[in-house]
Amino acid sequence: MMGNLLEHMGVDRDRVHFSWISSAEATKFVDVVKEISEKVRALGPNKKFVKDYNK
């Protein structure tokens, strides 16, 4: 529901990821991080929910 609300507010869904990884699941952790990195890289820099200190 949190992801849905963020999406509803206009945050790209591919920036928000939820995962449950045990300390014993090193390979799953690597896979998930790789996937997230790729998805976020494809979206480019985030402009939402970021403070602009130069204003």
């Binding site: 529901m1 949190m2 609300l5 206009g10 990821h17 939820f18 995962s19 449950w20």
Partner: protein, 320 residues
């Protein structure tokens, strides 16, 4: 709806006289027309202070949790519309009060009016307000307007499907007919139909006038934490200024704290001095709670809220 008040007063006076309850929490007239305030009546002779009309927009369940924090107090009677009663149920389910600490005087409700809609009809200050059934007569120094209540109803009351209290000790009137809606979440769907940037712009515009007064939080019966996350200074979860990121963070988190708990009573919008429809956030959560968990808050004393319990059938397609 006006007819209910005599019954409410009679029930309240009887409860106080018999000593069943220590006080009756209800609505009293405010200091200006079209305003009501919560009041706690402790003596039968003060019972005529109580009013009930279509401007009782706050949620009285809010005044129970704070009052009953000290367990020494006796039983409290609460005048409860459908939504107030649902919030009392939520209080009980969340162990804020026990069922035997409160006496619910249920009031069948035909909706509250949106004071901003009425104020928009006038250029000057409203000096008089009369309610007669479905017709409202509002006067100012320059003119008198007669409007149908249905035309100036608050949005949440227009889409309300629980006008009668689901749980009560006594009803102060005959139950009113419940509404059935084809599209209960049309407003949410309209926002969802926009593209992500347009949605972001919509919510940014929505909250741009927010002054961070936290009236929405204070009016909300769900917000009973001793220290709210916005007031916490160690750690400081969210910036206190009016930076738009902080404002959005506040609204997002405030809403999320109501996930699966909100009864859409509209007290937050009623309390907002800037006219921000903060329900745009909570409505999405209410829609999700209904669609994902088949849940509407405050209807059943014996069911746990969806985010409170684990079920093997919980939707889990969002998690890897």
């Amino acid at each position: 709806m006006d007819t209910c008040i005599e019954k409410i007063r009679a029930i309240g006076a009887d409860l106080l006289a018999k000593g069943t309850v220590e006080k009756v929490i209800g609505f009293a007239n405010g200091s200006i027309p079209m305003a009501t305030r919560p009041v706690a009546v402790t003596s039968p002779k003060d019972m005529d202070k109580l009013v009930f009309n279509c401007v009782c927009g706050l949620n009285l369940a809010n005044y129970v949790s704070k009052n009953s924090l000290s367990k020494k107090e006796g039983k409290i009677a609460v005048v409860a519309k459908g939504c107030d009663a649902r919030n009392l149920v939520t209080h009980i389910v969340e162990n804020q009060i026990s069922r035997d600490q409160i006496y619910i005087i249920g009031v069948p409700c035909t909706g509250m009016v949106d004071k901003r809609k009425i104020a928009a009809l006038f250029e000057d200050e409203i000096t008089g307000f009369e309610e007669d059934g479905d017709t409202l007569t509002i006067t100012s120094a320059s003119k008198t307007e007669t409007v149908k209540k249905a035309d100036v109803l608050r949005h949440n009351c227009g889409v309300c499907t629980h006008r009668n209290p689901p749980v009560y000790d006594v009803m102060a009137g005959d139950p009113v007919e419940e509404q059935t809606l084809d599209q209960p979440y049309e407003d949410v769907d309209q926002i969802a139909a926009m593209d992500p940037d347009a949605r972001w712009a919509y919510f940014e515009k929505l909250t741009q006038n927010c002054i961070r007064c936290y009236a929405c939080r204070n009016a909300c019966p769900l917000c009973y934490c001793p220290t709210c996350f916005v007031d916490e200074s160690g750690p400081q979860w969210v910036g206190k200024g009016q930076d738009e990121t902080d404002v959005t963070t506040f609204h997002f988190l405030r809403a999320f704290h109501c996930a699966g708990r909100c009864t859409d009573c509209g007290a937050c919008v009623e309390a907002c001095p800037m006219g921000i429809n903060v329900r745009d956030f909570t409505r999405k959560l209410n829609k999700d709670a209904l669609e994902l968990f088949g849940w509407e808050a405050g209807l059943d004393l014996d069911k746990r809220p969806p985010l409170d319990v684990y079920s093997p059938n919980d939707p889990n397609d969002f998690i890897k």
